[in-house]
């Protein structure tokens, strides 16, 4: 999907990484411009309001380096904090701002459930994920965490935004069925590495990657938290002209699904690039699938085409396991 002019543009900016493992030359942008707006997205559970606290906690591993080069800008006033808190409350209004995110559960929960069940035998049909520990990175109001908790998994939902965690916590508190399964922590993925490395059966970052400044660093952190043989699930937006036309232009200006300035196309990432990053961290990609949102029926469906939204499932190499990455790939191809 990359063409020459884009490549040249990136190269002249001098902030691209050259990767030459896949077919041809690819670029990755470790975008590092200060992102000083409060960003909030209908189909992204992760909000970047941590800037309001003057530091980038979420991407601590990379941002520490960034801080040395460019000090972060923090000039968000109380009004905007209030504004954000107000939006955070609408997380649990399924026909409100987060409608698309609620209905995305119909795709991502089965993907995560079936992807994990594939790895282990089901002990309990009612709670097929019981016994598994999952990490939902950028959990927002807990829309995905609660669904996975209901399937029996122990879910840790983390979000760098305190307001999101508050909403998630409050919503959960009404439901005794979730009290033991789901926990929320206001922290970043990097914060967990020190104590929780290699502990999770599955790590999920749904609609988060496209808001991340340092994607390689973020993916690396997520990968480290997965235990050998465990799974990483990502959903995000592709970096294509289509995703610009539909994901940004149409969604912001025509359909008014997303507030203006929500997404930066520069931060979108192609499945090939994401796959490369994941593979580099010792994973084998099992599945890359396109997702299509119909704004009239408000339903998501799987499509072959990955040029706008897509999902990726990768499995961490298990050193003790006898299966080689090659055989895993071929078996997944058969399934798809």
């Amino acid at each position: 999907m990359f063409n020459k002019s884009m490549l040249i543009r990136s190269l002249t900016r001098g902030n691209c990484i050259k990767i030459s493992n896949l077919d041809g030359v690819r670029t990755l942008h470790p975008r590092s411009e200060p992102f000083d707006k409060i960003v909030h997205c209908k189909i992204c559970s992760y909000s970047l309001s941590q800037r309001t606290r003057g530091q980038n906690r979420f991407y601590s591993s990379s941002s520490r380096i960034e801080h040395k080069q460019r000090p972060m800008v923090s000039h968000v006033d109380d009004n905007e904090i209030k504004k954000f808190s107000k939006i955070a409350q609408t997380f649990w209004n399924p026909s409100g701002e987060y409608e698309a995110l609620h209905s995305m559960n119909n795709l991502r929960v089965p993907m995560i459930r079936d992807g994990l069940i594939e790895q282990c035998e089901i002990k309990n049909a009612v709670e097929p994920l019981s016994g598994l520990t999952l990490l939902d990175v950028g959990c927002g109001g807990g829309i995905l965490s609660e669904a996975l908790g209901r399937l029996g998994a122990t879910v840790i939902g983390i979000d760098a935004t305190g307001d999101n965690i508050n909403v998630a916590q409050l919503h959960k508190s009404f439901d005794p069925a979730l009290s033991l399964n789901v926990k929320y922590i206001n922290c970043s993925a990097e914060d967990l590495i020190a104590t929780e490395e290699g502990r999770f059966d599955g790590v999920i970052a749904s609609e988060v990657v496209e808001h991340v400044n340092d994607q390689p660093g973020f993916i690396e952190a997520c990968c480290k938290l997965v235990k050998p043989g465990g799974s990483l699930f990502l959903t995000t937006l592709n970096k294509t002209y289509w995703s610009y036309a539909i994901g940004i232009f149409a969604a912001e200006n025509i359909a008014n699904l997303v507030p203006k300035g929500m997404h930066e196309w520069e931060k979108f990432v192609s499945p090939q690039d994401l796959q490369f990053l994941v593979d580099k961290n010792g994973f084998t990609t099992r599945l890359v699938h396109g997702m299509f949102y119909n704004p009239i029926t408000t339903h998501w469906s799987w499509i072959k085409d990955t040029s706008i939204n897509y999902a990726l499932h990768a499995v961490k190499h298990d050193i003790t396991s006898t299966t080689t990455p090659e055989s895993e790939t071929s078996s997944s191809e058969k399934e798809t």
Binding site: K82, S85, K86, I87, A88, Q89, T90, F91, W92, N93, P94, S95, G96, E99, H102, S103, N105, N106, V109, P110, R113, A125, V126, E146, A147, L148, G149, R150, L151, D163, I165, N166, V167, Q169, L170, H171, S173, F174, P176, I296, T298
Partner: protein
């Protein structure tokens, strides 16, 4: 106009689930304080079904027998006392239903159908519909009288069969008889996450008990309190008709497996087979006429009924003549497809049991079948004229659809009361129910009219439809689905 308004309101629902633009987000800041789920709110159930009629019981039974609902707390609330096991009398009850194959399949899915067959059910192999103002008529049958169009089953039998299966899953479904709900409190539409608002539906019972539920299923009939408490707009009108029901005695005949229906200007008369010597009557007529008919002694009532079935005085000569011409035309095109070829004569009624009863007829339709945490099924969502025998079948259709959608929701980890999958239920059901309601309402209005042009049109239309087998197959597949 009435049809148009049903369609418009429904379309609005089907096309886009409306976003509530008037709802305003609460501006209170959030607090993470732990709070008790509220001692006064009572125990939390996964599903509460309000109303233990045929449809409500079937809902409880369908969920109770679903493997994925293991461990879920289901409660059924019924205002009437527990009737205990049905003692089948040799005489028939006056209220019967024509259960379609789809309803049979639902009842079979949780094992209730075999109880019904073990008690009594009469298969219908053929249906004949004709009218009093012309000679036109239409017949339906499947695969040369081999296929079953429907089963005529007494309501008591259906109810008992479902209750027996419900009693087998007592560990999963709690039933509270003689329980009335005083008040339903729905969650705030926005589910604003403040300290006070819980996302569950709260119920206060007449005896003072409180309970709460993730999903409330309203199966409490056409005067639904659940519907009213949700502020769901309900469109309704009275037909100014009453239906007289009773059991009829027939002369001994070889096989009684035809359902008869004659449209008269006061309303349709349906005669549904019960066994070789008995049929059930559903006679829709004006309230005055009904009062008069109910007061008649048995033999005079039988005479009045036979008159209504056989009389020719109301025939419109133009329509009869046009019908004959059309018949000749059809015969010349397709000798096999003549409209009068399959005509059978209706049975001559010889007597009537002492179980005459009457009930008013009306139509009602809820603009929405769901709200966050609430779903309406059966007559609470839609009530129709009995002329096509679709009432309870639509209700059982709701049960089958809602059960599938809730099972999928559980499988996908979705909250039971989430509006996202509940609105799928609404969409799927309205797509099926609204055309049926519009057709039934339209037929009832069309055939209560004696105006010559209308009589002419409807009789020619019916005759043509009868000659077109593919069209008849289509109608049948819609009616018995």
């Amino acid at each position: 106009m009435s049809l148009l308004s049903i369609t418009v309101t429904a379309l609005r629902n089907i096309v886009a689930r409306g976003r509530c633009s008037t709802c305003v987000a609460s501006q209170r800041l959030l607090s993470t304080d732990n709070h008790a789920t509220g001692d006064d709110s009572g125990p939390l159930y996964d599903v509460v079904i309000s109303g233990g009629g045929m449809v409500g019981c079937a809902m409880a039974c369908a969920l109770g027998h679903e493997a994925l609902f293991e461990g879920k707390k289901i409660l059924l609330l019924e205002a009437a006392p527990d009737k205990g096991e049905l003692k089948l009398l040799p005489t028939y009850a006056n209220r019967v239903c024509a259960l379609s194959p789809a309803s049979t399949a639902l009842l079979d899915s949780f094992g209730a159908w075999e109880h019904i067959v073990g008690m009594r059910a009469q298969p219908v192999k053929r249906m004949q519909v004709w009218e009093s103002c012309s000679d036109s008529m239409i017949t339906f049958n499947k695969d040369n009288m081999q296929g079953t169009l429907a089963h005529i089953v007494e309501n008591d039998v259906t109810q008992d069969a479902i209750t027996r299966q419900l009693n087998k899953v007592k560990d999963r479904v709690e039933i509270r008889y003689e329980t009335k709900v005083k008040k339903y409190k729905m969650p705030k539409p926005m589910s604003n996450m403040t300290k006070l608002d819980s996302p569950w539906v709260k119920l206060r019972l007449e005896n003072g008990d409180a309970l709460q539920t993730r999903l409330l299923i309203g199966a409490d009939g056409f005067r639904s309190l659940v519907r009213e408490s949700c502020n769901i707009h309900n469109m309704s009108w009275d037909y100014n008709q009453r239906a007289i029901v009773c059991t009829l005695q027939l002369p001994t005949q070889t096989e009684n497996n035809v359902a008869w229906q004659r449209f008269t200007p006061t309303g349709p008369i349906a005669i549904l087979p019960l066994d070789d010597e008995h049929s059930s009557l559903v006679w829709s007529t004006t309230p005055e006429d009904a009062k008069h008919l109910l007061a008649l002694p048995n033999d005079s009532f039988v005479d009045a009924l036979n008159d209504a079935l056989w009389e020719n005085s109301q025939k419109d000569s133009t329509a009869v003549y046009a019908g004959q011409l059309l018949d000749q035309l059809i015969r010349s095109i397709s000798p096999a497809g003549t409209s009068t070829a399959g005509r059978q004569l209706p049975p001559h009624i010889t007597g009537v049991d002492d179980n005459r009863g009457a009930f008013p007829l009306g139509l009602c339709h809820a603009t929405n079948y769901v709200k966050s945490g609430v779903a309406l099924i059966g007559d609470a969502a839609h009530r129709i004229h009995p002329l096509a025998g679709q009432g309870v079948n639509l209700g059982f259709g709701d049960v089958a659809c809602l059960k599938n959608i809730l099972t999928q929701a559980v499988k996908d980890g979705a909250g039971l009361g989430s509006i996202l999958h509940l609105s799928d239920y609404e969409r799927q059901r309205q797509r099926q129910i609204i055309p049926v309601m519009a057709t039934v309402d339209g037929l009832n209005r069309l055939y209560r009219n004696k105006m010559s042009p209308l009589v002419l049109l409807r009789s020619l239309g019916l005759q043509t439809t009868n000659a077109l087998n593919p069209l008849k197959d289509l109608i049948m597949s819609k009616a018995i689905a």
